[in-house]
């Protein structure tokens, strides 16, 4: 390979990450410098005394939002992929029909309802949100992992066995890599829903980017609402563009 083609490829990789980077910088600078924009929000609510949400630092709210989503999503990926892999093994195959049906029926449950049901079961605070996000986030991941493993040509599986690969080698070298695009799409769906649902967590006592919105609705302060909404929107776009890039790789 010539050095110029290496450089071209490096530049291309850099350019691929440009969109996520721009969204991320926008997100961070807005979270850090919201108070600099007071004059702008003043136009929105000229009569109110306070137009910048002060009950929590925006960066801290953002951090907590990301943390909750990250914990829930990480657990959902581990459990979801694990469950789907387990029920496609010889030993767990009995559970496959039930798990597949549960994953598809579960997705008809609206996420708000799941969040609402988590509160009577677990109380207020961050824990019920993480559990609700985890439970709901599992479904698309399980479903997509099953679809991904199911989409593998049976002859490829047969050849892998015939060549003398152990079940573990088949899983790690053949099944998971071939199912990866499906799994990634499932994780994307899951994380997108989780970011949105976590924002609703502000109504059950979690403090995150949903807070300014809820507080703005309660106090009739449009400026608060717009601040929260902008940050959540930017957060979603950042995360979504990262997945977009990841999925585009061969």
């Amino acid at each position: 390979m010539t050095s110029s083609s290496v450089t071209t490829r490096a530049v291309a990789t850099q350019r691929q990450w440009l969109a996520p980077l721009i969204w991320f910088i926008l997100l961070l600078s807005l979270a850090a410098g919201m108070s600099q924009l007071e004059w702008l929000f003043r136009l929105l609510e000229p009569e109110l005394r306070q137009v910048i949400y002060r009950r929590g630092d925006f960066l801290a709210l953002l951090g907590r939002h990301v943390l909750v989503v990250a914990i829930a999503s990480l657990l959902a990926v581990i459990l979801g992929v694990g469950a789907a892999v387990a029920v496609t093994r010889e030993a767990g195959r009995d559970f496959l029909p039930l798990v597949a049906q549960l994953a598809s029926i579960g997705q008809t449950f609206p996420p708000v309802a799941v969040l609402a049901l988590a509160v009577p079961a677990l109380g207020f605070g961050t824990l019920p949100i993480i559990v609700a996000l985890l439970l709901y986030g599992l479904l698309p991941i399980v479903r997509n992992t099953l679809a991904g493993i199911g989409s593998i040509d049976p002859d490829v599986h047969e050849a892998a066995r015939g060549m003398g690969m152990t079940p573990r080698q088949i899983l790690r070298q053949v099944e998971l890599p071939l199912a990866a695009p499906f799994i990634l799409a499932g994780i994307r769906t899951s994380v997108t829903i989780n970011i949105a649902t976590a924002a609703l967590g502000a109504t059950v006592g979690a403090s995150n980017l949903g807070d300014p919105i809820i507080s703005g609705i309660v106090n009739g302060n449009t400026a608060y609402i717009v601040q929260g909404a902008l940050l959540i929107g930017l957060l979603s776009l950042t995360v979504d563009s990262i997945f977009e890039r990841l999925q585009r790789r061969p």
Binding site: L44, D94, F95, P97, L98, Q101, L102, I105, T108, F109, P110, P111, V112, A113, A116, L117, V119, P120, A121, F124, T192, I195, A196, A199, L200, T203, V204, G210, I213, I214, G216, I217, T222, I225, V226, G228, A229, L230, I232, G233, S236, L237, D240
Partner: protein, 388 residues
Amino acid sequence: MGVNRQSPNWVLLSLMLVSVVAWLFLDALNVAPNRIVPGTPYTSLEVMGGWPALLLGLPLLGVAVLAWQPSRKGLQCSLAVVVAVLMLLPLWLAAATVGFVDADAPQARVGIGSALWLLLFLLLLAVIELRTRLGVSRAKGWLLFMPMLASWWLALTLWLEPLALVREYRVRSDQFASAVYTHLMLVGAAVGVSLLLAAVLVLVMRRQPAVRRIGFAALNFLQTIPSLALFGLLLAPLAWLGSRIDWLGNMGVSGIGWAPAFLALLGYSLLPMVRNIFVALEEVDAGVIESARGMGMSRRQVFVQVRLPLALPVVLEGVRITTIQAIGLTAVAALIGAGGLGTFIFQGLGQAAMDMVLLGALPIIALALVADALIGALSERLRLGGAQ
């Protein structure tokens, strides 16, 4: 080698064992003298001397035994037992409630505990599992839930007055009816309008590749924005429009209420609708279209008589996804004053009144499931008649 010796059905076996343990040892009921005081929990064995609870639990152990050596007869038997237990459960609850709450304690309320919820959930899973194993058709599968629903309805209307959920409902039955109505109207309007808009959009997209690219990019972008944020972002401009333009204001357009809710719902509904209609029309078997042309059908005839009927099941799938999504999003819209069942959820959360939260959340889930089943059945019918 044994003759037809079956390996155990581990799914059913584990479901039954967990059910029985949960049912007998977790809290089944929660009795409180009024709405404010936290109640006292009871396990099912502490209710009515315990024997009715055992009577419900023992047949489940029988199912577990049958699952050890499953045969078709055994599975049918198991299904009958599970459906019967599901049917008897509300009656048990009714009997327990009557026993616990005196007629002269109009404030007393009975809450449903984790044991009961869990049992309900696990038994429903068992029904699904048995339905799959026995290859029961979709329509007959729904009939299986009928006895259970009938007995719940009976119990709820006749004996379950002290149930917290029922008490909560009685206080605001008018509000409940109007919330359901608003919810359905918003969902119906969003789905209906988005179907029409999407159809028009797709017809343009099929002609103009540029519109197709931009359209999908824009809709994808919109779908990424979380609902709460989109409702919030629509609030400011609509409030401004409502206050500046009189006729819009008179129509009820403002930052709060149905207008931002409807617009946001419409935006979210467009993507799945457009995507499915587009894919449906694109993916009709090229050979079929080719042969229709070859037979001398005009472009219009091909579209109306071949492409459209073949595409319909996929379009309906889009309607199904959109409807379910809209039912959930409308719940969120309650936050910006759009009404609907979400109102109970958020009011309940605000007042820490969990039964009120349930009063909102359970019907929303029920609506989503019913919509899913109805549209699913419809599309299956069309598929049978129309295409594979």
